[in-house]
């Protein structure tokens, strides 16, 4: 296979980069044998760009997302997100990076069941040390933006799947991150609800010029959400297209 020259290599200036990964490799040890999740991957994403990582299960797209979100460490290679070198970060700095620079949306929502929708959205601001009154107002606004003003006091188990994901979106965006990482954000939703959720998400991104990296195996979702589609296979980028 001839080497792939990513589109970003030619079109994005360094000063405009939101994400830059070089030689990214991630392996796992599984009972003595090595599993290669990512193989010397290079990726550049510009500020405000919307990129979909498309690939089959096990292609490495979620691993890449976790590395970009600072939830995991690469075996080798470097990652810069919003100018921050993740490789050099100590644990506390990494936590601060997750708190302030990136927002994450998960397929399984990952809401805390014992807390209301409002309290779930407040959580990142609690870790940021914001005062109760200010963060409560901000959380209300965030939930209003995703159309959940009437669900503030509901716990996750009292909400539908679409509502839960909208709470998760509000939570991911409440600290106004520069990069939003979404892992199969509509994977558990029916097509109508998925479209509603996506619309809410894209509205926000357009207004705030937030960079979006969405992981999906759904080509339609990738076309809708992203301007650029990066295809992964076996831990490597196999193609990049503009949608």
């Amino acid at each position: 296979m001839p080497p792939i020259v990513p589109i970003s290599e030619h079109t994005i200036k360094t000063s405009e980069l939101a994400v830059e990964a070089r030689g990214l490799t991630k392996t796992y040890d599984a009972g003595g044998s090595t599993i290669w999740a990512l193989r010397s991957l290079d990726l550049r994403i510009g500020r405000g760009e919307r990129v979909a990582l498309l690939g089959k299960s096990g292609s490495g797209k979620s691993t890449l997302l976790n590395l970009l979100g600072g939830l995991d460490q690469p075996t080798s290679g470097t990652i810069r997100v919003a100018g921050a070198d993740l490789h050099a970060m100590r644990p506390d700095a990494m936590a601060r990076f997750r708190l302030e620079t990136v927002g994450m949306i998960f397929q399984a929502y990952n809401l805390i069941d014992s807390r209301t929708a409002l309290e779930n959205v407040e959580l990142p601001m609690i870790f940021a040390g914001r005062g109760k009154r200010a963060r409560r107002a901000r959380a209300r606004d965030a939930l209003a933006e995703v159309g959940l003003s009437d669900r503030l006091s509901h716990r996750p188990n009292q909400l539908s799947g679409g509502e839960r994901q909208r709470v998760a979106i509000a939570r991911a965006l409440v600290n106004r991150p520069s990069v939003l990482l979404a892992d199969e954000p509509t994977g558990n939703l029916d097509s109508t609800t998925a479209r509603e959720v996506l619309d809410h998400l894209l509205d926000h991104l357009t207004q705030n010029k937030t960079t979006l990296i969405v992981v999906t195996h759904d080509k339609d979702l990738a076309d809708l959400a992203a301007a650029r589609i990066v295809r992964l296979h076996d831990g490597q980028i196999v193609s990049e297209d503009e949608s």
């Binding site: 976790n66 979100g69 939830l71 995991d72 644990p91 506390d92 936590a95 601060r96 990076f97 997750r98 708190l99 302030e100 994450m104 998960f106 399984a108 990952n110 809401l111 805390i112 014992s114 807390r115 959580l123 990142p124 609690i126 870790f127 940021a128 040390g129 914001r130 005062g131 109760k132 901000r138 939570r171 600290n175 106004r176």
Partner: protein, 529 residues
Amino acid sequence: MSRSSTRMRASDLLSIAVSALAQQKVRTALTVLGVAVGTFALIVSISVGQGVDRAILDLFRGTNALRQVAVYVKYETVPGDVPEANKTVIGDMSESKRARLRHAMIRKWDRRSVARVKNRLDQEGLERLAKVPHVERLVPVVQHAGRGKVEGFSKDLEVNFSSADPDSDFNNRLIAGRSLTNDVCQEAIVHEFLLYELGMVADEDVRKAIGKSIRLEYRMGRGSNWSLTHLLTFGPKGFTAIESEALIRALHRLAILIKLLPIPGEERVAFLKLLERSPIETESMREDIFEETFTIVGVMREALPEDEKRNNLFFAGNSNGTDILLPPRTAAKFFLRSSVLAENGLNNAVLIVDRDENVKAVTKAVEASGFSQSSLVQVLETIRMNVLLISLATAFIAAVALTVAAIGITNTMIMSVLERIHEIGIMKALGARTSQIRVIFLVEGAFIGLLGGSLGLLLSWLASIPGDRFAKSIMEAQTPRPVAGSLFAFPLWLVLGGPALAALITMLASVYPASRAAKVDPITSLRHE
């Protein structure tokens, strides 16, 4: 958004901790109960220790007895006074043994005259004691029999007269007139029975005695007094001078404790009467007769059993058996006119110290002056030390109970960490720092301790109400003086410290679970459902 400090607010930490504990109500309640029981035991044991200690202090302070130091003269046998024949050891033996036996022979020399007063409680000795720093008052202890003649009455009366502490119990027994002006005035307080003997029978007659003079005749001669000292000195048992003196001192010390013993009142009164003191007499004693006139300023009624509870002057014996009370310094001056007493001085005196904490310094000064002394401070220190040791022992057992509860908390918290591993992963993915996760669990532990500790405190206070009644019913049946206040003390440091200690212990018990929570890997835990 504006970048604020990433330090979590205390109210948020507490809110997250309480919210998590509220998720497991039954488990939290049982854990809190375990801590409450441990804290309850700890607080009760300390509270009782503190309460009993306070009650003991009150018991002593209530009588002013704690500020009193009894001073006694010391006797010593001078080897030079012992005839050579009575200190010569005969036979072959080592020099060290000969020295020991010679020492024993001198010690056994039982002639009273050989035992010399080391330092006399004469006028000069009394003045020296009065000048000891922190001595507020000096009360020479004088008690003797003699004859009395009241102005306007021809009848001679056989009377006992003694020195009085003007602050003491007889003030409560005054039925006419007033108390003594001071320690050196020429006044007297007479017993109502004395007036009855003179024919002043009606209740209002006692007032007629006020202002009259009474002439007291002091007469000292062998056989004229039958006191404990006489009995020990001249009685059939034939105690040596040193032995009898030691016995007198021991009995005087016993007098301190006799009032605390659960014995009937009449036995106590009889014992104290046995201690009525008189000067030590010698072979060379001759009869002294002299007299002085005093003005009657007050009349006291007969002492009743309940008066004994108010007796201030522990060491002075009681004034219940006396007919006439004289100002102490005047009494001492009067008796020291006797040639026998002038030679030997008084047997003892009582020093009233300005403050409790100065008693030790005064006792040291008294010892340094060549007198022996006795004070309730020494007795009190021993009792308080015993109470403290018992309290510490019970507190230790209670602390073990609290530790067991804390171990239970470690187990509970580990379970909680395992159950909430997904939640921890979410918090980490959202930007929670490792230290924040750790603190959340530590606060949970501390909150359990604070809650359990406060509940334990409340329970111990509730238990103290019937507990105090029960303990008092036992104590008051055995002590003459009622116990003031509760036997359970809850000083501020215990009220604050009890729950705080429980919180500290439970927080320490949470260190390991909190550390495990902090180390949770977000990727792994997010997969965990």
